[in-house]
Amino acid sequence: MTDMPIDTAPRPDTSRSLWATAMLRLKRNKAAMASIVVLIVLAIAGAFGPLVAPHSYSEVYPEFVKVRPSLQPYPQAEQVIPAAESALRRARVDLGGIEVEDGKVRIPVSSDSRDLDPRISRYLDRSDVFSNAELTIDAADPKKGMMEASVQELYFIMGTDANGRDLFSRILISLRISLMIGALATAVALVIGVAYGATAGFVGGRIDNVMMRFVDVMYSLPFVFFVILLVVFFGRNLVLMFLAVGAVEWLDMARITRGQTLSLRRREFVQAAEAMGVSSGSIIKRHIIPNTAGTVIIYMTLLIPKVILLESFLSFLGLGVQEPLTSLGVLISEGAKNMRNAPFMLFYPAATMTVLLFALNFLGDGLRDALDPKDR
């Protein structure tokens, strides 16, 4: 391997324009720009969507548990009559022929034994299906009457979940949570991992050995116990979850950065910088980290989905997001359990996640290309 060609070392002063150049190049990458738009849309949907969504993410509609996605409003025509019957069953009155038209329902009611109680209109009001119920009691015969009520129009374009909550609203709130977790936990992992890995790889020798054995120790400790301990000692709290996830996920990042650094530190431009007396800290900052950026960014785009899914496991163990809040990971794992009886519960969250990840991947690639020091 003596035929190794000589690398051209980037001049230290190029770092001044590094970000500017990168932005320029990124702007020329259509896929990356489209991804940025998608990500911004998703972020806005997560941030403001829950405020404008037709339903609150925590609103329970007991009559509409696991209903299918539909562009038609619920209750659908064939559900109105059974819904009226079941709502009034509790009132213990006899029902005549029920008519439905123009968003109104007309129900003749009667009782054999006693006079009608005007309060029974509340039975209809309490149901999610009807509103403005009114009972007109027959003046001649107080045992007979006519009940009228408006039929509610509820849209569940992505269906509802196992508790009867609008899935679309839940996906919106889950986006907020998951994007937050993804961004923060990955940022924690990135900062610790890159700094740790670059230092270990650059300094080398015994310190590298000790630092990397510490990583080995962290890898081997039983993760579930780690989580259980966090739950017990710190309660449930989102910040903690970011820390827990970041604290585990930086390990891979550190190993990858170190691997790259080991190879970089023998390169001529690093050795030249060393010979010129540049401090180790500056070399790591100016030469090592920018040169590992490509791989680190790719790995980051892999880490974000991993973190988002890991969160569902943490929620399962009691750390992290709790009801009625939810996250994409939790929605997907709920959907997986219901994939055979309510496939939409899996489909929509999974589709959201896929769109998010495609955007992240293309943006990651674009960033990687833009930051590539060899192209500078």
């Binding site: 080995d216 579930v224 190993r255 794992s333 896929t354 060899k374």
Partner: protein, 305 residues
Amino acid sequence: MLSYALRRLLSAIPTLFIIVTAAFFMMRIAPGGPFDQERTLEATVMANLNATFGLDKPLWQQYAIYLGNLFQGDMGPSFIYRDKRVHEILAEGLPISMQLGATALVLALVLGCLLGSMAALRQNTRTDFGVIAVATFGITVPNFVVAPVLSLVFAVMLSWLPAQGWGNWNQMLLPVIALALPQVAVVTRLIRGSMIEALRSDHVRTARAYGLPARMVVVKHALRAAILPAISYLGPAAAALLTGSIVVEQVFNLPGIGRYFVQGALNRDYTLVMGTVVIVAIFVVVFNLIVDLLYAVLDPRVRYD
């Protein structure tokens, strides 16, 4: 390099010791014990059980006993599976997990390198986007979705393969696919990224300029450099793969050891979890050593001194 390897192996001993100690006390700080289940036990019964398993002794004494036994190769009795000792349980399950994991690992490496290089060589073409799409899908859709879907399609609907169980080659197929898919995806992405970088690097350009055949350049020069990040990733990933996956084992009802990582911890089966910790630790230490040695082999610039 040999002396480096030896030194690393020597440093594994204190590493393992630290891991065992840290894990032991970490588990015991966690609330709940192996006998706290949905069915609360009578106080007398609980006292008898604690005495039987030595849980009534002071913690440091239990630690000393555990360490002493471990030194002699005995990992103690399982708190949950009471008819077996931990080393027997692990000896039954580990080969199965390893067999599955190793197959998935090889698959991930081969397919990942292939797809990743293909995409990189045809950057921004339809092939590239196709590969990225498949890889993204593999990363997005988690195991707990892929595995039941595979079983539903190939076992329940098509009746081509068994839905569960272990013992025949055709029972391995679906679990291996479920295990390998996310790894293939990750390796593909890592290789593609670093391959693009490597293809632009001067020595590959030079090699091409010399008129070396393209395939040779890719394999000998570019892939050699591009595989480094994938290898850093696969070191620990291999340790995880070979020690089994809880999801895949549960979905396909496989008798591997993956389930013990979560179930063992939830059951507070201290000795069994310690057993898995020791195994993972050994795998992590060994694989990270292999990875570090591979660095030096693949990239002559890497030197350990």
